[in-house]
Symmetry: C2
Subunit: 290 residues, 2 copies
């Protein structure tokens, strides 16, 4: 009754019935589930018909009919893709946007009432984040983003907060050599964010310098996504970005209060080198030749 497999299966049962209830609530708007799902996928920005079909796992015939139904209802419009007239792109009409908003409101209300029923919400949310990351680990997408984007700033905020907790003396960004955003943008560098669904769960920066090397900065993985090998994936992506920018030498600094990071560097071809800057926080320095 208490072995790990039983616990996973208990979770599956709990979640199956919760999902069933969720699906049923979508039926309340007088539209079959299939059509509602297509409408919502389009509302969420999946405009390409093929993309929606893949996402929902639908047969092309069925998909076509569902689109036709939504069109007849006046909720969507389709037009040919501008680069490839075989493909179709769907968009919500004014009425479709209203309908989509109604579904969104339904989902939000449900989420709110779930939260209201559960007092210890923060622990529960952290648990939900962890489970969601584990379930979607194969769909974690890395994307190059502007270091000033909302997603990047969120990651950096979390990263600084974590350093503050980890370092005995705390962490004050202004004392550190905060990399200028433009050094982490092409063509000088890069900033990569790991997204699980719509949630940023990790990041890494590649910061260009004028000293013949680039630096890896701000490697962070959300607590809810650790153990999924994401740190390695982010580092690989940063190295690829460096190669594309014809950068041959990488350096980074880190702190012994972050042992996971040190372990990762040591096992992926990085070599410890002497201090190469006067930032007060790091006490370990690494280099890797690409």
């Amino acid at each position: 009754m208490l072995d790990p497999v039983s616990r996973v299966r208990r979770f599956n049962r709990a979640v199956t019935s919760a999902v069933g209830a969720l699906d049923n609530s979508f039926l309340g708007r007088g539209r079959p589930l299939g059509a509602a799902r297509v409408l919502n996928a389009i509302g969420q920005g999946r405009s390409d018909v093929g993309e929606v079909r893949d996402y929902l796992g639908l047969d092309s015939g069925l998909m076509s009919r569902l689109l036709r139904n939504l069109e007849d209802e006046g909720l969507i419009e389709t037009q040919a893709h501008e680069d490839d007239a075989r493909r179709r792109v769907a968009s919500l009409t004014r009425a479709g946007k209203r309908e989509f908003a109604a579904y969104e409101a339904l989902s939000n209300t449900q989420a709110e009432s779930f939260l209201a029923r559960n007092v210890q919400a923060e622990a529960l949310l952290a648990a939900m984040d962890l489970v969601a990351s584990a379930l979607t680990r194969d769909r974690i997408a890395l994307a190059e983003m502007d270091p000033r984007s909302d997603e990047a700033r969120y990651c950096l905020g979390e990263y600084y907060a974590e350093l503050g907790r980890r370092f005995k003396q705390g962490f004050d960004v202004s004392l550190s050599r905060d990399p200028d955003a433009k050094d982490m943008r092409r063509p000088r560098g890069s900033f990569i964010v790991a997204m699980s669904d719509t949630l940023p769960i990790g990041c890494v920066g590649l910061k260009g310098t004028d000293h013949g090397y680039a630096e890896i900065k701000r490697l962070w993985v959300a607590p809810s996504a650790r153990g999924l090998g994401l740190g390695k994936r982010l580092m690989d992506a940063a190295e690829d970005a460096a190669r594309r920018l014809a950068i041959a030498l990488l350096r980074l600094d880190t702190n012994s209060a972050l042992p996971e990071a040190g372990r990762l560097y040591r096992t992926t071809g990085w070599r410890e080198i002497p201090r190469f800057n006067d930032d007060p926080y790091p006490d370990l320095f690494f280099e890797k030749r690409l």
Copy 2:
């Protein structure tokens, strides 16, 4: 993107697609999902037709047909209920047991492969327990059980382990006045276990004495089920059991290292009294007149 509602919705999306994959895997055995679900419900011990129907939320006509299909496949047999010939009781035939075992193996394999993909399994399992408890909070069932049953012993084991962690000096059952199981059985007392699906997540004992009162012992709620009001529910159930046994006075002892417990007693009509036993662990004593 990071407010609680979005996090809940991200979790919902993650889980919806996981559940979909799970359901689809059940289709691999050449039987529609409805029939597979009925077969599994019966295999899990839900023999009463009405019970299965309620559990799966099926229309009685549909249920009847699904049963007929399984019967035609030679997987189940039905007979009249021995106390009420209107009701039907279903059971698996030999072939049905084989088929059920195949479904079980499928579920177990999936759970195992999920666990194998996730290194930090214990943290993940704890998170899944918490989420499952929260999702099924309305279906947590309290049941009177023998204090020697597997479920009860599991709860007690967890309870002792937790006391060991909470008390500065640790906890050794043999030093405490371990209640004899028979004092927590009718007609002397009672033992109540809270079950969430098949997982015991809390307990409380009502221990009869010869001193004109009964004692509440072993109130425990699993960490994964705290914040759901389960402690209160268990105490209410214990009091009800006492009333049914015509017990008019209740006492209990506890320790100030368990502040949640103390708070619960104080807010539910219990009155602090002087020490009434010489157990070395408790330092707080309460009484309640029913």
